[in-house]
């Protein structure tokens, strides 16, 4: 299952054609692989390298550079909590503390049931409505402990 699906392979080939140089499709291709498996597996990196005419190491060095690409399986819900300056001024520390207590994990960890991964991240660009967190693709802002409980209660 960690290898690319045929549809992902097709999507990567389509993407490559959109750019004057195929290698420009590398990061979007890694994003496709991650969307499918929840992380970028070694097998996916090797296969994408082949599709892009790159060495596996050229792909690995790109994956390790970008914070949104994960090389380990993550939870079904990845929770990114911003603690940068504008959020810090509005008690992001309290928000992170609440999430740690509620989930029973520290930033960088995943719950044993693989439901949640908690990450402390840099500025998400939502400073006017801080504190903010991102759960998978969606932003949740003006957070309070009560609001967080409500959001998490609604996740399957």
């Amino acid at each position: 299952m960690r290898e690319l699906s045929p549809s992902a392979r097709l999507r990567i080939e389509e993407l490559s054609a959109r750019y004057p140089h195929k290698r420009s499709a590398l990061i979007p291709s890694l994003q496709i692989a991650q969307r499918e498996a929840g992380y970028v597996s070694e097998e996916a990196m090797v296969e994408i390298a082949r599709l892009m005419d790159l060495s596996p190491n050229e792909v690995r060095e790109v994956v390790s550079f970008y914070s949104l690409l994960h090389q380990q399986p993550s939870g079904r819900y990845v929770i990114r909590v911003c603690t940068n300056i504008s959020c810090q001024l509005c008690d992001a520390e309290g928000i992170l503390h609440h999430l740690r207590c509620r989930l029973g994990i520290a930033p960088g960890e995943t719950t044993p049931d693989m439901k949640y991964t908690l990450l402390e991240v840099e500025c998400l660009g939502s400073c006017g409505t801080s504190p903010v967190m991102q759960i998978n693709n969606d932003y949740h802002d003006n957070l309070t402990p009560e609001k967080i409980d409500h959001i998490l209660d609604g996740l399957q």
Partner: protein
């Protein structure tokens, strides 16, 4: 005075729909320009308008466009920098999410002026929803014949490719953005050569910020003189100020360049929270030197803020009241730059780490005599010596926090604890 250009239609429901945008006069500048204006005439108009880049550096946009060589025999590329990642900055997201066609029209006009047939919109990886909104708007524009082959019968072809980043602050730096777009680590390139002559895939390339390009349709519609008459001399137009931190009403405010900081904070944002006093203001994103409360009458334009010893930068205004521990604020900022340094240059890779480590021990009550001198010495050695400005961006704020709040830092070291946190609120 209510001078809104970019945000004047944001109250209109469904503005993301192309029909709504068109009903408000949208894409009229494009239709007129393709019929009546030559590419060079548009470049001249933008030069005369006085528009300066809204990403941070404030470089004159028309001048930047003028650097692209004519007839180089290579394709010209335009990159829309939507990597908005400077802490305290959240203005481009407003345009991307709420008025994407304004940006697309500006991008098409700019591409036409530059002779570009393929543009890239590089958007930070976290902005998944904004990217979806822009993709949808691009598809609508393509359906209407504003993008694709032979646009509105003019013979001009253009497509825009939305390219999502994958999480790296450095990719907002224009040459790092190009590296990332080419499928590599975001390592900034040595300049010269500048991207205008050797950029994406070795071809002439212009990189412009979202807010910059969103201004273009209005300049084409209303003329250079109209635009230049807004704001103050040398600083034309309006600016999207993103205000965060300790004010009553945070948010994005569009105001003419040169508006006094006090007016933004008091009249628009409602001042600092009740019972608190203004302590410090970061005027242009976390990398800009901090201003003190007694500088609140400075005007918000590139040149006035520079004279006050800081930078207008991305116009991300971060407000701190008297409950703020400046050591803790500096520590968080130093951590960000240590995390985001790409590691190419020694001064930056090592310097950002050192700053973070020293601030960490001061904040934790383990500061040593001589630490403040050491911080300032490090900052001096980090500035102006690296491939890109990240090292300066890391050093400038820390230097300013230590210099302007020296007594507070000193007290942290002397008393080995925070001297702010327990301070009671004052009556106003």
């Amino acid at each position: 005075m209510d001078t809104k250009i970019l945000t004047r239609n944001l109250h209109v429901p469904d503005l993301q729909e192309i029909g709504v945008y068109e009903s408000l006069g949208g894409y009229r500048a494009l239709a007129r320009a393709l019929k009546e204006l030559s590419p060079d005439e548009i470049i001249e108009t933008v030069k005369k308008s006085g528009l300066r880049g809204r990403g941070g550096a404030g470089f004159p946009t028309g001048l930047k466009w003028g650097f692209v060589p004519k007839n180089s025999g290579r394709p010209v590329y335009l990159c829309v920098n939507s990597d908005e990642s400077e802490p305290g900055t959240f203005k481009d997201r407003l345009i991307l999410e709420q008025d994407p066609h304004q940006l697309i029209e500006g991008t098409i006009l700019s591409a036409y002026a530059l002779g570009c047939r393929l543009a890239f919109l590089y958007i930070r990886g976290e902005y998944v929803r904004p990217a979806e909104i822009v993709e949808r708007a691009i598809a609508q524009a393509r359906d209407r014949g504003y993008l694709g082959k032979n646009i509105l019968g003019s013979g001009f072809d253009l497509d825009i490719v939305v390219h999502r980043g994958a999480g790296a602050y450095i990719c907002g730096e224009e040459t790092a953005l190009l590296e990332s777009l080419e499928g590599r680590r975001g390592h900034p390139r040595l300049k010269p050569p500048f991207p205008a002559s050797v950029g994406l895939y070795g071809s002439p390339t212009v990189i412009n910020n979202v807010e910059t390009l969103a201004n273009i349709p209005h300049i084409v519609n209303n003329g250079a003189d109209w635009y230049a008459s807004i704001g103050v001399p040398g600083n034309a137009g309006t600016r999207l100020f993103g205000v965060s931190g300790h004010v009553v009403r945070r948010g994005v405010y569009e105001l003419p360049m040169g508006t006094p900081l006090r007016e933004l904070l008091v009249d628009h944002c409602g001042g600092v929270r009740p019972g608190r006093r203004l302590k410090a203001i970061v005027p242009g994103g976390s990398s800009t030197p901090v201003l003190t409360a007694d500088q609140v009458d400075v005007r918000l334009d590139f040149d006035s803020i520079a004279r006050a010893g800081s930078m207008l930068g991305s116009a991300g205004v971060i407000v701190m009241d008297d409950s703020t521990c400046m050591v803790k604020a500096a520590l968080r900022i130093s951590r960000f730059y240590a995390e985001e340094s790409c590691g190419q240059c020694t001064q930056c890779r090592e310097g950002t780490e050192w700053l973070h480590r020293i601030l960490h021990r001061i904040e934790g009550g383990r500061g040593r005599q001589g630490d403040l001198e050491l911080l300032l010495d490090l900052c001096a050695n980090m500035k102006g010596r690296t491939i890109c400005p990240l090292s300066d961006a890391a050093a400038m704020p820390i230097e300013s926090y230590v210099q302007k709040f020296h007594a507070e830092f000193d007290a942290h070291i002397r008393e080995q604890r925070c001297v702010i946190r327990d301070a009671p609120p004052v009556a106003t």
